[in-house]
Each structure stands twice: as structure tokens, then as C-alpha cells.
Amino acid sequence: MNKIANKQVINDVLLAESATDKDIVVLCSDSRGSAGMKSYAEQRPEQFVEMGIAEQNLVSVAAGLASCGKKPFAVSPASFLSTRSMEQAKVDVAYSNTNVKLIGISGGVSYGALGMTHHSATDIATMGSMPNMRVYLPSDRFQTEALIKSVLKDDKPAYIRIGRNAVEDVYEEGHVPFALDKATVVREGTDVTIIACGELVGDAKAAAEELAQKGISTRVLDMYCVKPIDKEAVIQAAKETKLIVTVEEHTMYGGMGSMVAQITAANAPVKVVNLTLPDAPVVTGKSREIFKYYGLDAEGIVKTVTEQL
């Protein structure tokens, strides 16, 4: 079982890169601990800015820093970053087109029992609907590392959502196929395609393995690049397989599954089933319990695929 959370990887990448890149700045909103940014904050005090519990200002200040050539990473719970600071993200980051990387930590339902105030199950919808804003939900620690290194090289806005806890590896160290904005084919298949993003890619992969035992050939796409979504990969899947099942830690409207359905409807109509969180506050529990309850885990995915195919 992997013990390294994706946030830890972000801390480590930024700590390493900031040794030579003095323009990297990390901003937190009384969130350095939960963001896994403690060692960065300790070792790079001159490249760390504490904004206090003021998420709107966190984003505005990051935008001001970016406009002066800095490479700010605003790291704050995804729940607050994607709604409390939504207007700052829209105006100061997306519309002004500033080089701000918004890192939503403890995303989705990873705060579990803390309830809907702390869940960010609407962030793909809120952030993804803004022109200029890219949205990424990496699946594991290796991909997170590749993603952060990659976005460090560009100067455009992005929102990156990661979860709170360590997740099972999807890839193997040293074998992380990654091309920015291209979905990663985790597994080839010809009957059905599962398109997943974020921490549910691992479940999609496990489901595909189980489906193979039943003789169902399953393609798995890791759509960490929710926006710009890899349209080609979706159309290809729609043409080459009979069913697409999307899996995401997001509400049913305006998420990755909605985007997939929009693309297939216009380009290559195929049955698309969206596995999502409900349009309701979710039941109390830990992430894994919540996923299981709503059929988003490997078992639930297998069930949906066999029923729908």
C-alpha cells in the first residue's frame, strides 16, 4: 500500500524546483499542514506566503504576484478554493490570464464526515466553466509529479485537485506515460471504455482487471486532463467500443462525464453512463465508504458495466 499522498509529492517537487527557480512562490490560507506544505514552508520561507484564513485574498494576491513574473501556487482546501474564491479565480486568474496554479487539496469528498462545507464535488463545474482555466485531477503520486513538473513550464492558469490521503499507485515508478493534455491509456480494450479521473482511476483499473476475467475487454482512460479534455481519445473510444462508463468524484452535473457525453453526442453517439456522486449532500463516511455507497469503486464499476453492456 502506497503511503505517499499526492500533496506530499507536490511539496517535494516544489521544494526541489524552488532551489533553483526563485520565482516559485507557495501561498497557503492557514493550510500549510493540511496541504502537506510544511517542509516547503520551513525550508523556503522567502518563497512562501501565509495569507491567513482569507481564501479570496489568497487568490487575488497570487494573481498580483503572477503579474509581476512570479510563479505562484495557491494551495488551499479545494472546497474553499473552488467556491469561496471562485470569483477571484474567474476574474484575477482566468480572465486576467495570470500564471496562477490553484492547488485544491483535500478535494472531492476526502474530508469525509466533515460534510458538504468541506467537500468540493462541484469544482470541475465551477472551475471548468471559466474560459482560460485548465482543470487537472491527477490519479496517483507519479502522475502528480509529472503534472506539476509539466505545468511549471507553462505560464497559464490551472486548477489542480488532489485528495487528502495516499492512494494506490496506478503507474509504476519510472513507467509513467505522460503527455500533457493527452489522456493516458491505462489499459487497452475493445468492448467497453471506462474513463476515469483523479483518485478513481485506480478503481477503474481494478474493475477492468475483474471484467477481463469475465471475458469483457475493457479500455481504461485516465482523463486527468479534465480540461482541456482529450476529445480525440473520447471519440476514438466511442467509435471503437460499445459503451463508455465515466467515473468521477464529482456531482452529476457539469463534471467530466458531462463533457464526455457532450463530445460523444455530437461526434460519435454511443451509450454513455456517468458514475458520479449524487445531486445531493453525500452520506457520512470516509472516502472509500462513500465511493462504495454510490457505486464508484471497482465493485460498483464492474456492476454497472455488466448491467449496461
Binding site: 482569507a54 498580483g64 505562484p72 470569483e87 477571484q88 476574474v91
Partner: protein
């Protein structure tokens, strides 16, 4: 340069631009004109040809609806073609939309949603401190705008980080859209409010060019804390029938009003010849 004469010229351009475009926020433009003239023609280190100079001073118009005043000044200073501004402002496909946009030379950040500019300016000032650059950052806010809570987050942070390279103005014209600030949402004691957050506070007569200029000089000398200049202005300043009337927040002059306004401003301008 006679800054007072320049301010009258800019006011004429503002009235002209708004009349020709058939839209604009005339009241707030005319109240903030003197502040912008002092900054752009005297105080700020900013050059249309060097907008990529990392040492340039930064300006953020947080009360972005006063964009006509900013555009008239930027056009006059040669940041872009004045004719294009006057021919296309707010028209279909124009790059000159009704709020500041950083695709336009001279504009640092997009504003228009009140309560954003000061936070952005705090970020710019922080970057200056980190890079040990001497540029200064200026932000102009409306007094109605002070009801936005986000401003107070920025005010808090500006003082916390001792940003003495940051100067904010509050265009204290005592009016907003629906009436006086005191009727709509109390904005009194701005001085005490900012002071209690740790800012250096200077209260001036905000349409007085010398007073503005002196206050900016004091701000430059002030160490270890940001300065706010509470500029007590007259909304609509310079045109008798527009002055001090909330209704003129974004009213467009009729033909007769336009001519009267231009007449008054021309008479005022003649005093400087």
C-alpha cells in the same frame, strides 16, 4: 506641465468619449480624474514603450467602472491610438470594453468586479519586496466599494506584510449607485478603519492636485506600512449639473447637456492659458 490644465483636458475627453459611445460611468470618472492625472503625468514611472520593464510602477483601477478616465489618460499618453478608442469604445468587436482589460497596453489587470484590485495590488507589492525592486504599486478604490469584504482581507495582508511600496486611494465622493454611501451602507470613518488595520492614513481634498501630489510624496517616504489616501472628492467634479448627484453615476448626457458640459470645461480650461 500644468497638471490642473491637463485634468481639465482629460475631463473634456471623458465627457466626449461617453457622449459619443452612449455609455460610461461619468460621475466616478470625473471624481477620480485628478488622482489619475497626478499619478500618470507626475508620480508614476511608467512608459508606453516599456510596459515589460520589471521596474515600472504598477497601477490597478479597482473601481474599474471608471475606465473611461483611465483610457483617456492612456490614450493621451500614447499607450494606444486615441482615434481607435474614440471610434470604437464599447462598440461591437472593439478591444475597448467597458472595464479595464489587460490585453490593452497600459492595463495591468482586469477589473470591473469591485473588491478585487487591492488584493492584486498586495500581490504586486509583495513581488516587489521579494525581488528587491523599487517600483511602487497604486490602487484606486471607490468608497461604495469599501463595503466589499474582500477589501478588508487585502487591507489586513497589506499591513501584515508591511508593504510600504503600496499606496491605495479611496475615492471618497460619498455617492454610489443608489444614493449616498451613508444611506446605502455606512462608509464613514474610513480613516479610523484603515488606521486600525495598521495603515498610514492621509486624508485630503481629493480634487486638489497639490494635495494629491503631496500625499503621494508622503506615502513614498513612509516606511514599514502601506499608505491609504482618503481622497475627499466631488462625484462628477467639473461639470456643475453632474456634481454630487447619484443619478449621474452612469447617465449619458443629452446633446444639450453635452454642449453645456463642454462649454463649462472649456471656460475652466481658458483660465490656464
Amino acid at each position: 506641465m500644468n497638471l490642473e490644465a491637463k485634468a481639465v483636458d482629460i475631463r473634456k475627453d471623458i465627457v466626449d468619449l461617453i457622449y459619443k459611445a452612449g455609455c460610461g460611468h461619468i460621475g466616478g470618472d470625473l471624481s477620480v480624474t485628478d488622482i489619475l492625472v497626478d499619478l500618470y503625468y507626475k508620480q508614476m514611472n511608467i512608459d508606453p514603450q516599456k510596459m515589460d520593464d520589471p521596474d515600472r510602477d504598477r497601477f490597478v483601477l479597482s473601481k474599474g467602472h471608471s475606465v473611461e478616465a483611465l483610457y483617456c489618460i492612456l490614450a493621451d499618453k500614447g499607450f494606444f491610438d486615441k482615434k481607435e478608442l474614440f471610434d470604437t469604445y464599447s462598440k461591437h468587436l472593439s478591444k475597448f470594453i467597458g472595464h479595464p482589460n489587460n490585453k490593452i497596453n497600459g492595463v495591468e489587470m482586469n477589473t470591473g468586479s469591485l473588491g478585487h484590485g487591492l488584493g492584486v495590488a498586495v500581490g504586486m507589492a509583495l513581488a516587489g519586496k521579494m525581488d528587491k525592486r523599487d517600483y511602487r504599486v497604486y490602487a484606486v478604490l471607490g468608497d461604495g466599494e469599501m463595503a466589499e469584504g474582500s477589501n478588508w482581507e487585502a487591507i489586513n495582508a497589506g499591513a501584515h506584510y508591511k508593504l510600504d511600496n503600496l499606496t491605495a486611494f479611496v475615492d471618497r465622493n460619498r455617492l454610489q449607485i443608489s444614493g449616498t454611501t451613508e444611506e446605502v451602507m455606512t462608509a464613514d470613518s474610513q480613516e479610523e478603519r484603515w488606521k486600525s488595520f495598521g495603515w498610514n492614513v492621509i486624508s485630503i481634498s481629493g480634487n486638489d492636485m497639490n494635495a494629491i501630489d503631496e500625499a503621494v510624496d508622503i506615502a513614498k517616504e513612509t516606511k514599514d506600512r502601506p499608505t491609504v489616501i482618503i481622497a475627499n472628492t466631488t462625484k462628477g467634479c467639473g461639470v456643475s449639473f453632474i456634481e454630487n448627484k447619484a443619478a449621474w453615476h452612469h447617465k449619458v448626457p443629452t446633446k444639450a447637456e453635452y454642449h453645456q458640459a463642454m462649454q463649462e470645461l472649456s471656460e475652466r480650461r481658458a483660465q490656464y492659458e
